[in-house]
Chain length 159, copies 4
DNA sequence: TTTT
DNA sequence: TTTT
């Protein structure tokens, strides 16, 4: 393919994803991402929310199943794929058109997630969720899950 | 800001992220994403890997800590942010320039993740890792983690 | 602003741009870009058109005037800006929502333009149109407008 | 192809494009785009230039010839294509790597161009150039080239 | 190394 | 119709 309109949307799920299957058994998940831009209000001297973009998305196969399993209403995600237009007819026989994102890849955003993962859980249960609403108590980390970091920051070359 | 060059990269971490702190205590994580395009070879009639793009990335604050905690070498990610150029001098005094992605958001890709999440773990331990290479044994799901799906697929309007 | 959904669309104008002015005198041009992806049909062993995306666009100020002056139905363009959603009510009182591209920059594509520019015209009349369908007779170039090129191609470093 | 890193850069040519030909006769144009972000300085309460990104670009075939013909140093452009990395060896035998934009489409930006096009020139000489520095006197427009606009602005539905 |  |  060439010449598609590629787009990346960052935002929160407006509801739990819906998982369906085609007659031939292929999984497809549908969900809507609310993307809210922030703008700096010079007068109020503060950040304010702009108007949200609600982008309907669909994703296929294994990714669809993973999305349905691991994402819930409120989850913040990064989604990328092709912008498409779909035509359909209303019950009244009117023709309508919707813009959708045919997602190629999606991931739960790590921007605000605060879940601390214990060293013990690393490699077994993995990253502790990203549900915007929920959260969910993480167990204590007896070894201290602080980043191993080490050393001060310096502005040295990157490789 | 306006007029930045926004970019989204999808690929796998070439190594574990490195977490550092600025003198003032702000966290920054650095990592490289290898993005390998696939192209259809008409002659061989099969998909082949193109040449990988290795994109150096940095991410700040809470996201940096989350990245360091939850992503490892091999993890497939979706990263979006601003493309930047950074100048530095080699030890020999030569001036060089590197292109980097100043990441705004990142998420572990759900495309190939096969980790099944038990119903029990939903809401507590969350999504079970995404390390491209690794994996890591997931616990059995006694209730069957099959998508609740239900209903046949149809091509109906999206809302 | 931060967190907007940035998008680039490449395609052809479905009609001449419409230029309007706000009460305060600001110019705004509206137009629709038809973006047609191409996909390789493995069976037919040839490229075929995919389904077009029709993206409604608006652009402001000087750019709006330039667009109205220099672009016509059929012109191929590269447009980039923010994806937005706009709500409105139909005459029947129904609420509808449309996705639009609030364009920041636009340029007539140089991909297929065949207009030859005479050396004489360089710097005065400039580039000779870009109407996808039309074309339009260009004047002869008495000196030969062939690229000065020179030298064979080599794969040397880029700077 | 799938999984490429698509990117759009907006900025000004740092020099005239260089046109070359492969041994087999294919045209390729090389040029660098300087993309300068603008950021609002809250303290100074004014817009300031950020640090420029200098993106090396190449474009092929007809587009290459058109670029060489119609764009000059300083021209503002919108370029979109695939981000690539190219390896080469310095004369000293060192291996280096550069990031480049393999451009698919490019157009001279209509954002700031002020050239007025007479009705007479429409369809013959076309749009009056976009050379950042130049400008170039346009002839008078005897019929008045004012946008036909008409009617006040209203916020009505887009189709 | 460019531009408003 | 979501989130910090």
């Amino acid at each position: 393919m060439a010449g598609e309109t590629i787009i990346t949307v960052v935002g929160n799920l407006t509801a739990d994803p819906e998982l369906r299957f085609t007659p031939s058994g292929a999984a497809v998940a549908n969900f809507t991402v609310a993307s809210t831009p922030r703008m700096f209000d010079k007068n109020a001297n503060e950040w304010k929310d702009g108007e949200a973009l609600f982008m309907r998305c669909s994703i296929w196969r294994q990714a669809a199943e993973n999305v349905a399993e691991s994402l819930q209403k409120g989850a913040r995600v990064v989604v990328t794929g092709r912008l498409k237009q779909r035509s359909y007819e209303t019950k009244e026989g009117e023709k309508r058109t919707v813009v959708e994102l045919d997602a190629e890849e999606i991931g739960p955003s790590l921007k605000y997630a605060t879940a601390k993962v214990t060293r013990a859980s690393r490699g077994s249960s993995g990253f502790g969720g990203n549900s915007g609403g929920g959260g969910g108590g993480q167990s204590e980390d007896p070894w201290g899950s602080a980043p191993s970091a080490g050393g001060g920051f310096s502005d040295e070359p990157p490789f």
